[in-house]
Point group: D2
Chain length 448, copies 4
Amino acid sequence: MALFKGNREYFTGVNEIKFEGLESDNPLAFKFYNPTKIIRGKSMKEHLRFAVAYWHSFCGTGADPFGGGTRTFPWEQNNETKMDAMTTAMNKLDAAFEFFSKLSVPYYCFHDRDISPEAETLKDSINNLEKITGEAKLRQKETGIKLLWGTANLFSHPRFMNGAATNPEFKILASGASQVKAAIDATVELEGENYVFWGGREGYGSLLNTDMALERENMARFLSMARDYGRKAGFKGTFLIEPKPMEPTKHQYDFDAATVIGFLKEYDLHRDFKLNIEANHATLAGHSFTHELQVCADANMLGSIDANRGDAQNGWDTDQFPVDIYQTVEAMMVVLNAGGLGSGGLNFDAKLRRNSTDTEDLFIAHIGGMDAFARGLEVADSLLNSNVFSTIKSNRYSSYKIGDGLKFTKGELDFEQLATIALKEKTFPLVSGRQELLENIINQYLFR
Amino acid sequence: MALFKGNREYFTGVNEIKFEGLESDNPLAFKFYNPTKIIRGKSMKEHLRFAVAYWHSFCGTGADPFGGGTRTFPWEQNNETKMDAMTTAMNKLDAAFEFFSKLSVPYYCFHDRDISPEAETLKDSINNLEKITGEAKLRQKETGIKLLWGTANLFSHPRFMNGAATNPEFKILASGASQVKAAIDATVELEGENYVFWGGREGYGSLLNTDMALERENMARFLSMARDYGRKAGFKGTFLIEPKPMEPTKHQYDFDAATVIGFLKEYDLHRDFKLNIEANHATLAGHSFTHELQVCADANMLGSIDANRGDAQNGWDTDQFPVDIYQTVEAMMVVLNAGGLGSGGLNFDAKLRRNSTDTEDLFIAHIGGMDAFARGLEVADSLLNSNVFSTIKSNRYSSYKIGDGLKFTKGELDFEQLATIALKEKTFPLVSGRQELLENIINQYLFR
Amino acid sequence: MALFKGNREYFTGVNEIKFEGLESDNPLAFKFYNPTKIIRGKSMKEHLRFAVAYWHSFCGTGADPFGGGTRTFPWEQNNETKMDAMTTAMNKLDAAFEFFSKLSVPYYCFHDRDISPEAETLKDSINNLEKITGEAKLRQKETGIKLLWGTANLFSHPRFMNGAATNPEFKILASGASQVKAAIDATVELEGENYVFWGGREGYGSLLNTDMALERENMARFLSMARDYGRKAGFKGTFLIEPKPMEPTKHQYDFDAATVIGFLKEYDLHRDFKLNIEANHATLAGHSFTHELQVCADANMLGSIDANRGDAQNGWDTDQFPVDIYQTVEAMMVVLNAGGLGSGGLNFDAKLRRNSTDTEDLFIAHIGGMDAFARGLEVADSLLNSNVFSTIKSNRYSSYKIGDGLKFTKGELDFEQLATIALKEKTFPLVSGRQELLENIINQYLFR
Amino acid sequence: MALFKGNREYFTGVNEIKFEGLESDNPLAFKFYNPTKIIRGKSMKEHLRFAVAYWHSFCGTGADPFGGGTRTFPWEQNNETKMDAMTTAMNKLDAAFEFFSKLSVPYYCFHDRDISPEAETLKDSINNLEKITGEAKLRQKETGIKLLWGTANLFSHPRFMNGAATNPEFKILASGASQVKAAIDATVELEGENYVFWGGREGYGSLLNTDMALERENMARFLSMARDYGRKAGFKGTFLIEPKPMEPTKHQYDFDAATVIGFLKEYDLHRDFKLNIEANHATLAGHSFTHELQVCADANMLGSIDANRGDAQNGWDTDQFPVDIYQTVEAMMVVLNAGGLGSGGLNFDAKLRRNSTDTEDLFIAHIGGMDAFARGLEVADSLLNSNVFSTIKSNRYSSYKIGDGLKFTKGELDFEQLATIALKEKTFPLVSGRQELLENIINQYLFR
């Protein structure tokens, strides 16, 4: 992958980030992520399929509900003059590809409004998107960097204040369709491997004014129609739903993995749709990240991952960069057991802390996340290779592989027979779950 | 309904609880619950279908993880001598029916182990249950009090420490089947209107040692087989699943309504099963009570209600008696809109605070809960009669009843047509959700 | 109070809000708040001392972290032209006083940056504030509306990203002092009855980069110096700290009432400072609103109240208008027992939902909040008049009013004597806490 | 330390646990904890001062609110016969010392009721305690194992349902004093290094029936008197308060570290009392474990640590064994910076999962916890030695070490001078907090 530079170099002083290993004190080097290292016959790069999120990295100013942005981007102004929106968008695209190439990530992800500006009319906004899409295509070609997924931002514009696919006002729903159609077109044009729906405003603020049943049906209809259009337009990738329980909406319909899977099956969408699981959304929903991944893997619907983390004491989406190796080990164990990420990837839907204002910070944060998943992959691999977990689990469920237990799983017993089996027993074995042992083994493998 | 008294009167000093209205300062009288008051052509009693929970009211000693029971029940001992288990069970049955009849509730609910003692062997335990079932039947006949639902306790005995239908050890799963078969038999014998499954241990302590996919399949198979048996044994009522996200288990498979509905549909159980929604379980899962009720109502799967409440600051199941009229108003609005509780009811799965140790407290707590739902019913009725809510909601969604909006809901538009509709619009209306207005109206109707 | 109108009427179509009582269906009328109604010898207006919050009501556009504002204020633009900042500020002041007078609230509250714009330099910002202060003073005089409290916004500007009084960079701390000095000056000029500190950024994002001990000391020093300046400048009112546990900061030093009280006493600030308790901040800290009020009242440090509420399912500051009568009853019981609000008041630190976009909504929301507290006051008064609560409580603690119990409270026993007293007892009484009874009584008094 | 064996060996098949290092697959060996390894001139054993908690390890049967115990202890029965309480207590003591010595921990901790049975009367209970204390003393002498701290259980007996030191009934408060006096006597006799108060029932279930002000005063008086008695009785160690926000009580007065420190200072107890911080209690209070430790360290009141962890998804005290190295690294950084644990230690207030039923599990769980803190100590030490953290922090606050910043910290500026300083500045530097860098460095040092 060649280093990309547009008309101007935006991240001066930072060169290509290289693997230097644990002993290096260079903050701008990988300590664990060695892209070419082979694990299970595939390179780390192929396993992890990292992507950078356009919105946080190139649009996120650090603003929060209590204060304005702390970052002014060099691609937005020339000396003190603010540039017009399309010039900014073009510069930003250069900056983004420069960043991708210096970080050596193979993928990126975007919303329509991240890469191209909203205009006065929908039509003009779509034109903007088409223009930038063409430019992005050129840069993809030049660098070999690919689009992991595209999506439409159906939550920032005020017209979506009551949702898009679930808006009580039909014309606003239709405006969402316009955006989604254009975003699917852009994704097809850029050969995006997935197309994502995150319904940040699809839910309710109060049940008092909400017809939840109608809104859910409208959402299902909207998604079905979008799917049909996508297939017609040549999109061969996976459609993804990204669950989140709340925020900005009081309650979001795509609450968690189980809810979304039930919804997709109810409306016969599960053949085209999988899930994009975000760590911080999992914990906001009262689940562990691993739980949500496993629920998807069990349903064969693990599509992709938004790699970040929340703060255990804060009840909102902090979208921090993932650094907890325990979480990356467990995540990668699910992923490896599920046969890998397929057409999905690890997208850093993560943002710098508001007070991380150095240019280098954006690199450092991504390096930390990539290293955390690289180390997680290594440890997960060695745990799975050792068979220690699989043996314990296999023994634990062995009674279903023989005799009456096996018959039960095959449906060869009726309830009365089942009930009779137990009547013969005087006592029942209390077999230890050995949770503490397994937790200790994780710590052991972590360090060896 | 005649007042019941067994060999001994247990709640001396308390007579039948009567409606005395708001001006009465008698703590042992109803202030709002007037069983014969007619609302929408039905009596309050028929609307609300109150049930007393056997476990909390007659088995709950006030013990918690940090201390032993604060209540010793007169039916458990004679002077200082502790009586044997079956005598206790018989006395307790008398006490329970005395309580039901003094409180004038039409229903009760039980687990097998609440009404009859666990014996050394499963077989003896089942014999115990059968004996007590016969006695209960006599008392039902004498008093007219009916069984809202029965269930089997598959969580208290140590053998269920790793679950019952999801136990890694097949023989323990089979022992669960023995208990469920016997509990279904008892429910049929007592003409129970529903049969409930609450899977308190069906889940996991750690994913490290758990095969979640197999466990869920086993649970589905177990429920299917139990359903088949029930139907064969003459059970014509509704099977109910009661969701709870956690506690005692770290994660419970029946996390919330959406998860359970998805599960029931996946395994084709949704024709026989509905949901039993508990207020406190809803809030533990990160939902409002009303949300869980509405999710069920929209899926036509609202079976019954466990009427209680949690503490907003405590993260465990406090199972307090419901007294918040806002919650009962919202709940009864969902229930009335859904056409009533059907064969379900309002079961007080609620317990006295550990330090509520007066005999009267048990009556007072139930009176408070019954009054709260009675007042909730009245206010919900007047809100629905006023049409103020239905008009606002109907206007809010009116764009789907005409023109292109209607076509959309009928599936007469494709995505490209939908996208084109919005392109013609210059701006989109921001229609107020008027949440504050609706909240004010609730307060107005509450008091008039 | 005369209706105020500036150069232009901003809330056309809304007249003065009047008390019309429960039977009125006019959404723009009070149902419970009758300003002149006498309770305990004081008018409702004198008891409740309502204030409107300038920031939410006249600056809050409805923006949230996921989308821009849904409201454009008529005082910000003329036809399509955006007006300059000082003209906007002047218009906004007119609009605000028009709103106050139509709503008949006696008080308002502001941050420096709400009423006057931030300029390029601190000096110019202070000049802006001074100009607007003069204008506000005129309007106060004309209308009789008074300033409940003023404060400085030390969290929105990027320079405060690491805090103000706790900033690791001294010059930024000093810039906070400039703002606070000017805001105190403005508060003195406007005869504000209190001056508030809310330290939204005074805390940390990570302990890894934080010297918490130094930051707390700096905060204490800053507050002491500000207090000294305020007294010198003629401020005779109360300084208030408003606790909040987190958001925007990961951890805020003013976590809750107990933490702040401990801090104030440690640094000898408790003679000049009291607390401003916000309902939603209480619940974010894991406390009930009532708890935080009681903690302050017990320490004689209940200064004022930010009247709003959170959402039980959302873990961030939703700042909704208060409508839950249970909360207002409990709050007003604490307030009445504490002898009233003193120089404090009930400030609606509450915002419209993002999708409440009608002009009327702002009135409706405030009406709902005022009615909720008015009804709360009525019920609290009747509960306290009935003595039912005080009698139960008094009996409960009666053992400390006689004999050894009394000696204990007077310090007349040593530990060995105390230990010996109990040795004589064979058993100890289990006296019921009667929580359910008390909860039922609340419901009874609510409706009568 | 000699291996201890009483009349009978209870943990047959387990020998002394030895350090075998990371490559050993022996689950009954330490991987990181090498007691004699020297760090900063002290052995790991001296740094970490591990203690076993008598209650969880030798009294905890695995019972929870939804089911009975899963463990029957060999010291409680002989064949099938249950032994009397004092024989059991004696056997249990043997088992405990056998366990301590096989695990090579230097310390243990107990409540009065863990080591000796509650009798019919308080007096007899105290006699029981005295007898067992004598026996424990012999075993301490034989093995060299010491008592880290003793305490009295003032929460399990029903008489404490409304608290002990805060009970509304004076005689019950006095009964608490009897127990505390006896427990202090036992602690003195056993040369315990600390005496702990955990007020599990000191709080309220409802504010409606609670005089919080009186209860807090009574608690303060009780603690003062206990302290005076302790000193008189020859106790030279530290008194410790262990904060917990809730559970079993709805609200506990010792909510968190800041609350307790404020309370201790208010009542002039801070010279004799420090805090015992439990990880799981910290997280229940909405704080990180590290935060609570730092708050204590900054106040010079970090007394001791209850080493465990909670479950991020469960809202109750799960008391799991600590295995998260991130937490132990951060904890040990605070401890090392604070100059060590002093007379405190790391007490495993942690319990086996209910389904961990093998004899070995108790060893494995403790080994995991000891290894986690040992590794945490190593990493904390290397981080501190590297100066990377201290340098970054020192630079961050350097503006307070010179010029006006220094003057400010010395109190040599008044507020007007402070305010003037900033007026000269045109802009203010936005200095990056570099949180992501620091998090990456932790991961780097973790593995090298």
